[in-house]
């Protein structure tokens, strides 16, 4: 069976959930081969990759691979495409994942599909375009299919793979080293699940009113074990750090449940959340466009509704 390369997303030595989803998806199409870029792979991480079906684990452990913007990861994958002739390459459709896919496509003279929400035999991908208005099936017809798959598109299921490890040395070109990362600035993260990976996301907007008042959004998220998101109005006002922005230029989320409190539902916000399976809106303006998307909506003051909801949830636990 042909290999399917899956670029592993990892943070602090841990494999992210989206990678387990991609391995699950890869299993239905071929033999999954995980590709780990950068130092810091642990025995636990390897076990996790194997548990979700990785037959092979390629490890390019040199620091060089992650100390420069995107290009080294694309060179690593291009080298593996040349050496292993995989049937396809899957990456997570994060902003950076898509950039890796783009460079890899140029390097390998292959087509690329971005933001797939499904992938079937023959590597036919599902995309949801124009604000969720149109469903498209698309396909790569030249080269090795390169597909960027949206987090939360597939439910991860364990099914052991061989997990055979192979070290990979990649000889980076000077060009790949041209954009040097000289400092990484980590802003608070907290114990909550990561925004793009979370099954439940609770977001606050301008209606939250202040940075302090985001505490009620956080309390609701915590009662549900969810992540916190924010609209651009809230991040611009610096009520919440901007890596939590949901929308066109923030994160794209596709959770089981999205709760929008004090968010009007501008098109740029919707672009980041409209593929959520269930949407709840809390807004004092009955005309707010977010209600057009909502499965359940409450017209009311979020300062009343949100704490009451949190209390109800905690009571039912």
């Amino acid at each position: 069976m042909s290999e399917i390369l899956v670029l592993v997303e990892h943070v602090d030595g841990e494999v992210k959930k989206v990678t387990l989803e991609l391995l699950t998806l890869a299993r239905s199409l071929g033999s999954p081969a995980a590709v780990w870029a950068g130092p810091g792979i642990t025995a636990d991480a390897k076990a996790r990759l194997a548990e979700y079906g990785a037959d092979k684990i390629y490890v390019a452990g040199s620091g060089d691979v992650v100390d420069h913007v995107v290009a080294p990861k694309a060179e690593l994958l291009a080298q593996l495409v040349a050496d292993k002739s995989p049937a396809a390459v899957l990456v997570a459709a994060t902003a950076e994942g898509k950039e890796v896919a783009g460079r890899l496509a140029v390097k390998t003279d292959s087509g690329v599909i971005t933001d797939a929400v499904g992938l079937r035999e023959g590597f036919v991908a599902d995309q949801s375009i124009f604000g969720g208005g149109v469903n498209v099936q698309s396909r790569v017809r030249r080269g090795t299919p390169i597909v960027a798959v949206r987090p939360n598109s597939t439910a991860p299921e364990a099914a052991a793979g061989a997990g055979a490890e192979e070290e990979v040395t990649v000889s980076l070109s000077d060009g790949a080293r041209a954009a040097r990362i000289v400092e990484r600035v980590k802003q608070e993260k907290g114990a909550r699940p990561e925004l793009t990976e979370a099954a439940i996301v609770v977001s606050g907007g301008r209606g939250v009113g202040s940075a302090e008042n985001f505490a009620i959004i956080e309390a609701l998220a915590d009662s549900l074990g969810g992540a916190v998101g924010a609209s651009r109005a809230a991040t611009d006002a610096q009520w919440y750090p901007h890596q939590f922005q949901v929308g066109q230029t923030g994160k794209t989320v596709s959770p089981q449940l999205y709760i929008a409190a004090g968010i009007s539902g501008a098109i740029q916000h919707r672009a980041g959340m409209q593929t959520a399976k269930n949407i709840v809106a809390i807004n004092k303006d009955p005309e707010a466009p977010i209600f057009e998307l909502a499965d359940y909506g409450v017209v009311g003051d979020l300062n009343q509704v949100v704490p009451q909801l949190t209390e109800e949830i905690n009571k039912r636990k």
């Binding site: 943070v11 913007v69 290009a71 902003a95 898509k98 950039e99 783009g102 496509a105 140029v106 390097k107 003279d109 087509g111 690329v112 971005t114 933001d115 036919v124 949801s128 124009f130 208005g133 149109v134 498209v136 099936q137 698309s138 396909r139 017809r141 030249r142 080269g143 060009g175 041209a178 954009a179 040097r180 990362i181 000289v182 990484r184 600035v185 980590k186 802003q187 549900l224 901007h242 890596q243 066109q248 230029t249 449940l257 098109i267 672009a271 269930n278 209600f291 998307l293 499965d295 359940y296 909506g297 409450v298 017209v299 009311g300 003051d301 009343q304 009451q308 909801l309 209390e311 949830i313």
Partner: protein, 259 residues
């Protein structure tokens, strides 16, 4: 500094966007075209860098004839001149061929810095800046929320999952911007009048040395197999808070087994 800013014309997101039934490409004729929002931030950043360091700002657009409206807007904001890459042979190009065609045009124009938006509102692939960096062999400084140029060195703050990375490189470089970076200016009346006289050069594929067999629908590396309107979302239940709004949401969440 010679700055080229890439500006795309996209359908107004407020209108209903459709694919054409004949060749499954975006129907650009049926809707009003506007400047891709993020590209206004790219233009603004280019103008600011020019104001600080001197030089010239050239707008590059690839698109059909009516994309000149978009060019005029960027010129009215203050760009000096424009290149319109326009040829029927380019219709239906995917990201691979678009990046190839634009890279060829950029090589012809010459640049110290190429600035793009980080994503378009129509196709939303977000791959073009990275592809251009790859094709031009220039450092990729993408997803920038801040750009500083000092002589021939350039530093950006690149948005990441955990915050941001500070990234350094040497010009020439390819930059893409996010909307945190600035506040785009509105064209002044004077600017709008002046834009009418600014030079716009139209290039066909032969002018930019673009190989015909590498662009357009026929050459595309990827294709739309099928498409259909998404089934309409079932209308939701909207209630007015009468002191029990939170409890009602909790009931809804319980009915969906979230709690």
């Amino acid at each position: 500094m010679n700055i080229v800013v890439c500006v795309k014309q996209v359908p107004d997101t407020a209108t209903e966007r459709k694919l054409r039934s004949d060749d499954k490409t975006l129907d650009r004729d049926a809707v009003d075209g506007v400047v891709n929002e993020l590209d206004e931030y790219a233009v603004e950043e280019a103008l600011k860098l020019k104001e600080a360091h001197g030089g010239e700002v050239t707008v590059l657009t690839m698109g059909p004839g009516k994309a000149t409206e978009t060019i005029r807007k960027a010129l009215a904001m203050g760009a000096d001149k424009a290149v319109h890459l326009s040829d029927d042979a380019l219709h239906g190009s995917d990201a691979l061929s678009t990046s190839y065609a634009m890279a060829q045009a950029l090589k012809k124009i010459g640049f110290d810095l190429v600035i793009l938006g980080s994503e378009s509102t129509d196709a939303r692939t977000g791959v073009l800046p990275a592809m251009l960096a790859e094709r031009l062999g220039a450092p990729q400084l993408t997803l920038a929320r801040k750009v500083d140029v000092n002589g021939s060195s350039i530093t950006i703050e690149r948005l990441t999952d955990y915050g941001y990375d500070r990234v350094e490189a040497t010009l020439p470089a390819v930059v893409s911007v996010v909307e945190k970076i600035n506040e785009p200016r509105y064209p002044s009346f004077k600017g709008i009048m002046a834009a009418k006289k600014k030079p716009v050069e139209t290039l066909g594929i032969a002018d930019a040395e673009i190989a015909a067999d590498q662009v357009g629908l026929g050459a595309a590396w990827s294709e739309v197999v099928e498409f259909a309107p998404a089934p309409p979302r079932a209308a939701g239940t909207i209630v007015k808070d009468e002191g029990d709004g939170g409890a009602k949401v909790a009931e809804f969440l319980a009915s969906k087994k979230f709690i």
